[in-house]
Amino acid sequence: MMAQAGVTIAIPNWNHEILLPRAITSALRAVKLLRSEGVPGEVLVIDDCSRDGSQVLLRQLEALYYRDGLRCIAFAANAGLAASRNQTLNYARYRYLAFLDADNELIPENLSLFLRTLDQTRAAVAYGNLLVRSPTANSAHHVLSNESIQTKLFRYLGNHVDAFSVWDRLQLLDVGGYDPSLHFLEDHEMWLHLATNGRRIVFVPAVLGYYYILPTAMSRDIPKQELVAARLLRIFDQVKVRELLQMNTCHLRYHPDLGYI
């Protein structure tokens, strides 16, 4: 399948009916801005067999906003985040992919900074600051994904950088996509996979969006995470020397108006 120049903002959804409109609104605004600059785009919602009314909402929203670039695809059976992300790689129309979780919010004006970064650096992924808010706050209290990738990617097997980033879909396909056998730390595994395979991962010092901390988020299931973390350690750092090995992607910071910093 030929990848067209442009961006797909991909929103994987599983039972986030209440929060979906915020994510979709921010994504549609981003597509509108990009289209006004001559960059094609779409918003692709992949629903992983939600039970909470998401699918009804999505059908209505797609009917209203199809011309604005909204497409919705619903799975008949729940397949998990990795499978959802892999389906996104298959269904997306455009080369670049912005993963936006259904409970988060994009800052539309800044997406072009990340697209230009991918274009100029040929990186596999460009990520930036995510302002962290509690669900009903209108002000951030923390920042995630706030610096360039360094060796601590291997030191702490937790999610150092969020998947709420902008990706080169072709490079993700080239490395085999997400590991569908994982049901935790799927995104962190991809960071490790890309880094150890010499792909460029670039930090852009701009704010990409808002990350909302929900009390029932998937990432809070600690015991299951620890089992998966042990497996990732076995795959990527079994003799615990990664911290000492220089990666191609260490300390890469890039701003499209400045170049590498």
């Binding site: 004006e109 800044n110 920042v143 706030n146 610096e147």
Partner: protein
């Protein structure tokens, strides 16, 4: 002969940390340049290099960081005490808010080393905010421009702003308060700001997750407004922030908790504001006029050489008066 004239010149030693945070290396080098303008023979060194000789004056550019970089505080203090016996005058340099633990460490280490004077290189006199017991050892010196910095400022007048595409930049350690402030700037000023807020770590010249001086200046050279707030709760005018914006063609904007906390003696008050005011001020399109005012006001300040000339005369060190006027 040249070597004879050098023996006749007063000698200054500037000790810098070498590693840890780069601003104290920078600060030391700026003071060195100011002393060269005054006709001193100047040596810039680290404690590890064991500088030899007799000096008319010696400045320790952050004694706390010098000792930290040395690695052995007790040995470092011994070396400083020994060095002090070969100097007519020894003083500590500080560029910190006097209410903070960082200044207190400078004060305490200076006392342990027998250094009786702390020179505060800043933008306003913090003496009134010190406890009485600390005032005798405190001396404010305005951190004006060196000669090379004044020349750079003149060259900046020729530059246009067509490539100054970054509306604002916020660079500093991450704190919850700063996260909230950046969110406010995103919402009320412009979402396209440059934001770099890593976890706390030293700002070294190389190998740090932070931006070093050259990287930071590259960013500021394409930025209109450098916005920041202190990482502590006390009022302070960070001189390096103001100066770095001046010398990269931008405008500094310090966010304070309340205008009430700005002392009357503090210059450049129009560049300090509460967060709620930032949106209106920074969106208003008055960047060239604000920068003009900032540059003109700074040029009216004494130069660093003039300030240092006053200081060394108070030390009883004679300097060529024609050089001190020109500095």
């Amino acid at each position: 002969m040249q070597s004879d004239s050098r023996r006749l010149s007063p000698r200054a030693l500037i000790l810098i940390p070498g590693t840890v945070n780069y601003f104290y290396n920078l600060s030391g080098r700026r003071v060195a340049e100011a002393f060269e303008e005054l006709g001193f023979a100047v040596e810039v060194s680290t404690l590890g290099n064991r500088p030899q000789g007799e000096y008319d004056c010696c400045f320790l550019s952050n004694i706390s960081e010098i000792l930290h970089a040395h690695g052995d505080a007790a040995d470092g203090l011994r070396r400083i005490i020994t060095l002090g016996s070969h100097c007519r005058v020894m003083a500590s340099l500080a560029i910190d808010c006097v209410a903070t633990p960082w200044y207190h460490r400078i004060r305490d280490f200076s006392a342990q080393a027998g250094v009786g004077l702390i020179v505060d290189l800043g933008l306003y006199d913090q003496g009134p905010f010190l406890p009485p017991a600390d005032r005798a050892s405190y001396r404010f010196v305005l951190s004006g421009l060196t000669r090379s910095e004044a020349q750079l400022l003149e060259r900046l007048e020729e530059q246009d702003d067509s490539d100054r595409t970054i509306p604002w930049a916020f660079v500093g350690h991450l704190t919850p308060h700063r996260a909230a402030l950046v969110d406010h700037l995103i919402q009320t000023v412009d979402p396209r700001g440059f934001v770099y807020m890593p976890a706390p770590a030293p700002y070294t010249e190389t190998g740090s997750p932070h931006l070093n001086q050259q990287q930071f200046e590259r960013v500021l050279g394409r930025t209109r407004y450098q916005v920041w707030c202190s990482h502590h709760q006390f009022f302070y005018m960070e001189p390096e922030r103001f100066r770095s914006s001046l010398l990269t063609g931008g405008v500094p904007v310090k966010i304070v908790a309340s205008r009430q906390e700005i002392p009357e003696s503090a210059p450049l008050g129009y560049l300090m504001m509460e967060a709620a005011e930032a949106g209106a001020h920074l969106r208003a399109g008055g960047f060239p006029q604000l920068r003009r005012r900032f540059r003109d006001d700074w040029r009216r300040l004494p130069t660093l050489g003039q300030e240092m000339a006053r200081l060394v005369r108070d030390f009883g060190i004679e300097i060529d008066s024609s050089l001190s006027r020109a500095a």
